[in-house]
């Protein structure tokens, strides 16, 4: 009986700590386990007992790459609970802030973390010797995204300027002007990056995913919308927990989220694009056509193309929002606490991020539930690995391991985000 074991103790070029255990017996993949051993961080428990005004500063600490996603899901959920409707200019600023996060997070993943897989380099440092221009473009894109975070969020990492009802301080038009100039250059760099990525060799793979993303009636989704799927799901965000459930697996400190009816599903750029392509401007759709990106992409190795297209869109959208910007008459809408439950879901760079909070009459948090995209994609990542490894069994050990790691990175997992949710039970005698 021939048994091969591929074990990767530390998966590099993903955010956080995880390992892969792949067992192959008699020419067939027997076991695939993506083990997340990032220590659980108990953010849901940390939020209990804190005031509703503290939520955004606490959840911004969950992730250094996607803090805006946590702040936006948090702010919308609390405002849902308190019945707050924000001014249109505040809504626009939030979308602009989200554009900044998409640009910096996607640029980092596309070029610094994922591209080396396609071009046969161990990392971006080695790749930079031969593809310096591409790396320089990524650094410049990341800088532009970070500039939006700094201006609107107060600082690049763990921003501090968002608050319930709006912002502590809003920018004037003059402050946004230099960012708009930077975004024009960023847009060109984003297109060059897309064209560069389009030339990569993509392994063959077609997966029958159920895509899940937000869908808004008028726009490519970021901050709001209904939760829809390629299999016909169409629910309000408040009904999330009637359709989805988190399960614990013994080998991971992160919960696996599944659909109660149909099991694993995919969130992230491929799902957003498949379910919302019609909301992309014609010019962006034309760019997708130019690089051969099909209207529904089912090859996870081509997710890097979709991600690259979204960077172009985020630059365009940010420029549109800045051009139309008129400062709000007030930076925030006042909030009054009340006993209520609030729900929100926004599109983090890696996919939908669900938040739910139950508040008492003083606005103290009684219960918090956060479901990050990586927890939702873990099932898909394992299923992908099974299929990718089965198709690549003839590869030598090193090449098979590299292909498996590339497969994991197709979904830009943010492990630290996913490991907040271990349920801890203390048995006392």
């Amino acid at each position: 009986m021939a048994t091969r074991t591929i074990r990767v103790d530390y998966i590099a070029r993903v955010e956080g700590e995880s390992s892969l255990d792949l067992r192959i017996r008699n020419g067939a993949v027997e076991t695939v386990r993506l083990s997340i051993f990032e220590p659980p961080r108990f953010f849901e428990a940390l939020l209990r007992g804190r005031g509703y005004t503290e939520v955004l500063d606490i959840v911004a600490r969950i992730c250094g790459i996607c803090p805006i996603a946590y702040q936006m899901s948090g702010v919308h959920a609390i405002e849902d609970a308190l019945g707050i409707a924000v001014d249109p200019a505040i809504r626009a600023l939030r979308r602009l802030l989200y554009c900044g996060e998409w640009i910096q997070s996607h640029a980092l993943h596309i070029v610094m973390l994922h591209a080396p897989d396609f071009l046969g380099y161990p990392d971006a440092i080695a790749m930079a010797r031969d593809h310096g221009e591409a790396v320089e473009r990524a650094l410049a894109l990341k800088k532009t995204g970070n500039e939006l975070l700094r201006l609107l969020g107060g600082r690049e990492i763990h921003p501090i300027n968002a608050r319930i009802g709006g912002f502590y301080r809003v920018p004037n038009r003059a402050e946004l002007a230099p960012v708009a100039e930077a975004l024009k250059g960023a847009r060109d760099r984003a297109i060059d990056t897309l064209l560069w990525v389009a030339g990569f060799p993509f392994p063959e793979c077609v997966r029958d995913y159920e895509f899940v993303a937000l869908r808004h009636p008028d726009e490519y989704p970021m901050n709001e919308g209904r939760i829809v799927s390629s299999a016909g799901l169409d629910i309000a965000v408040a009904d999330y927990e009637t359709e989805f459930i988190e399960r614990q697996v013994p080998y991971s400190t992160a919960l696996h989220s599944v659909m109660k009816q149909r099991g694993v599903y995919l969130v992230g750029p491929m799902a957003r694009y498949a379910l919302n392509r019609d909301h992309l401007p014609a010019e962006i759709r034309a760019l997708a056509g130019e690089v051969g990106l099909e209207p529904v992409c089912r090859n996870p190795f081509r997710s890097i193309l979709v991600r690259s297209l979204e960077v172009v869109y985020a630059c365009d959208e940010a420029l549109r929002l800045i051009a139309a910007y008129e400062p709000p008459v007030r930076p925030f809408v006042p909030a009054e606490p009340r006993a209520a439950v609030g729900y929100a879901c926004t599109e983090a760079p890696r996919g939908i991020l669900y938040h739910q909070y139950r508040l008492d009459q003083d606005g103290t948090i009684l219960e918090a539930s956060l479901v990050p995209p990586t927890a939702q994609n873990q099932g898909v990542i394992e299923e992908d690995l099974r299929e990718v490894a089965t198709a690549a069994l003839d590869l030598k050990e090193d090449a098979l391991q590299a292909r498996c790691e590339q497969s994991i990175r197709n979904h830009d997992p943010c492990i630290s985000c996913a490991a907040h949710f271990l349920k801890l039970q203390v048995h006392r005698a």
Binding site: Y10, A124, A128, R129, K142, K143, E156, H158
Partner: protein
């Protein structure tokens, strides 16, 4: 000396001031403010080391000040010349959470974006808990590091003039 070849010096303190000894870099550069000679810029950075590549653009000489994990004794100060040497792994093990100083320096080297003179001052830390203050030995090392950097700045300026 014309304005175009005037030495431009940058001192960057890297670290999170809310994580105990990790904040020693920012603490040191704050003590340098107002004491550095003209032509020297002082900055703080937390988190994203990749941003250093943009930070040091246009500067002839750069000193980065950072904390490192304990390998011998807390408070010990190391001076490392990085222009032609990588940062040893023992001084900056790779992280799964971000690009660190070592990776940033090597990336910049391959992009030909290193400043002509790059020096790191690393201080061995002991405690990195959230909300902690500097540990006593690290706090004691701060003034020593400040003095050494103040001595280094004119020497680097001199080296730049010779180089130019």
């Amino acid at each position: 000396m014309s304005a175009s070849d005037r030495p431009l010096m940058l001192v960057v303190g890297i670290g999170n001031p809310d994580r105990g000894d990790d904040g020693v870099g920012p603490v040191i550069v704050r003590r340098l403010r107002g004491r550095v000679p003209p032509g020297t810029s002082v900055r703080e950075r937390s988190g994203d080391a990749l941003a250093l590549i943009e930070d040091w653009k246009g500067f002839s000489s750069v000193i980065v000040v950072d904390a490192m994990a304990q390998i011998t004794e807390p408070g010990r100060i190391y001076r490392l010349e990085l222009t032609s040497n990588p940062l040893p792994v023992a001084f900056a093990p790779p992280s799964t959470h971000a690009f660190g100083l070592a990776e940033t320096v090597e990336l910049a080297r391959n992009l030909h974006r290193l400043p002509p003179f790059l020096i790191a001052y690393l201080v061995e830390g002991e405690q990195f808990e959230t909300g902690a203050l500097l540990s006593p030995m690290v706090a004691k090392a701060v003034e020593d590091a400040v003095e050494r950097i103040l001595t280094e700045i004119p020497a680097l300026s001199e080296a730049w003039r010779d180089h130019a």
